[in-house]
């Protein structure tokens, strides 16, 4: 046992000396390798944590949302639908939601305006999200202007700023009284943006949605599970930018592995020849090359994963912010609860460490099986 460990340690010593002899090349390789692992790990950690956050936060979202469709786009829904839907067995409550968007030309930001609150603000008052307060630089008691549909700006006094802690759900919200919202956008009475339904038994949601779709062919029921699935598909590995970034990272590994697998430098070949001529066996040479590959890939994997974890969970993925923000002026500040899937970590390990190490051994095996004299002369 001790003899075998000592043999491995001697070969590891030699492998490290060998790597340090080509310090510049190997350190730059390790840095690039770490960066690629960091990039993949950060994407995986970030998307997984966000998906989990969405799943837990949106559990409280309405059981079913009913929209009205006109020519493939959603339209205002008559409040009269609510009474008929409430009569469907299993529906315990129907709440018309009144909400919309407002583009603020001064700040260049988009806000979500909603007639809601706990309790709802009175006429002329508004509750605003932390992101709105930050963008407009206002606090409780200040006034915010919102341009009505007629063009004249209306001032609303900020009653309260919604807690900073809820920013992931409320950053861009402006809550107004129903009367104010209707007056601002000339919202017709008897209509709402959509209907939020509460269903007593979760198993009945799909059946009730089917009944609504049959009773109101112009409606679109959206189930709570579909809301949750939307976030799963947004941050799925196949989603837009995600697949591009993962593709780039995987190609980087292919290049690393290709560089190793296509052959050894003349110097390395000569080194193998000398080792064999002084008595090293093929197995020893392969072990040496295995350790060389393992040292670089293991160190890069551990450093890359640690850096990714710190970036995502301690610095709130600030490196991804420009990509996520796009052209938006208002961006929420939030912290993700660390949640790493061991399966994903294992996949990352086998995708990064194993192929590189194997790719290091193969050309060495070819070089180690030729005659030492030929290897030294080549």
């Amino acid at each position: 046992m001790n003899r075998s460990v000592e043999r491995h340690r001697n070969i590891l010593d030699f492998a490290l000396s060998s790597l340090l002899r080509r310090k510049g090349k190997n350190v730059s390789l390790w840095v690039m390798y770490t960066l690629v692992v960091f990039l993949i790990a950060a994407i995986v950690f970030y998307t997984h944590a966000l998906k989990r956050e969405a799943a837990l936060i949106l559990q409280g979202a309405p059981d079913i949302v009913v929209q009205k469709m006109v020519a493939g786009r959603h339209d205002l829904v008559p409040v009269g639908y609510a009474e008929k839907i409430a009569a469907i067995r299993g529906v315990t409550a129907v709440r018309p939601r009144l909400w919309g968007y407002y583009y603020d030309p001064i700040a260049g930001a988009n806000y979500t305006l909603m007639a809601s609150g706990d309790p709802p603000p009175g006429p002329g008052a508004a509750d605003i999200g932390s992101g709105v307060a930050r963008t407009l630089r206002v606090a409780e008691g200040d006034f915010i202007p919102i341009r009505a549909v007629a063009g004249a700006p209306t001032l609303f006094q900020v009653r309260k700023v919604l807690p900073y802690a809820s920013e992931l759900a409320s950053s861009d919200l402006i809550l107004l009284s129903e009367g104010d919202l209707r007056a601002l956008f000339d919202f017709p009475h008897g209509f709402a943006t959509d209907l939020a339904l509460t269903v007593g038994n979760p198993a009945e949601r799909a059946t009730i949605a089917a009944k609504i779709a049959a009773q109101f062919p112009d409606s679109r029921p959206i189930l709570n599970s579909e809301i949750l699935r939307t976030y799963d598909s947004i941050f799925d590995w196949r989603g837009g930018m995600m697949v591009v970034m993962l593709g780039v990272a995987v190609f980087s590994f292919v290049i690393f592995a290709w560089d190793k697998a296509t052959g050894l430098s003349a110097e390395e070949r000569k080194e193998i020849g000398i080792l064999k001529s002084v008595g090293w066996e093929t197995g020893d040479v392969l072990l040496l090359k295995f350790w060389e590959g393992a040292v670089v890939s293991l160190a890069a994997f551990l450093c890359g994963v640690i850096l990714a974890y710190v970036q995502v969970f301690f610095f709130s993925a600030s490196l991804f912010e420009p990509a996520l923000k796009g052209w938006a002026v208002l961006y929420p500040r939030f912290k993700l609860v660390p949640d790493v899937d061991p399966y994903q970590l294992a996949v990352l390990f086998f995708l990064t460490v194993v192929p590189y190490t194997v790719a290091t051994i193969i050309p060495s095996w070819r070089a180690a099986t030729v005659d030492p004299d030929a290897a030294m002369r080549s």
Partner: protein
């Protein structure tokens, strides 16, 4: 010190650090948990449907409420206007084939 000892210590140190980070994430991160809880309560009270992640376009602000055509609002072959449109895939709805 032998080079192999230094490398093994370095690897062991990193592995312990990683395990500690993963472990601390499970039990610490009080602020992030408080934020999650506050958001969850607000979503329930106000009956919200989406996370406020991308505010630049209405169909990325409320992806679960957007209709399938909103990303191509000008015409069916129009190029997507907004950068976050490349991050957010269109939603799948009830009755749609999967």
């Amino acid at each position: 010190m032998r080079k192999s000892t230094a490398f093994l210590l370095f690897t062991l140190g990193n592995a312990i650090l990683l395990v500690l980070l993963l472990w601390s994430g499970r039990y610490a991160s009080g602020e992030a948990r408080a934020m999650r809880e506050a958001s969850r309560i607000l979503v329930q009270k106000l009956q919200l449907t989406d996370l406020c992640l991308f505010t630049e376009a209405r169909y990325t602000r409320h992806p679960s409420m957007a209709d399938l055509h909103s990303a191509f609002q000008d015409h069916p072959l129009a190029l997507e206007h907004f950068p976050s449109g490349s991050l957010a895939a269109p939603p799948r709805f009830h009755g749609e084939r999967r």
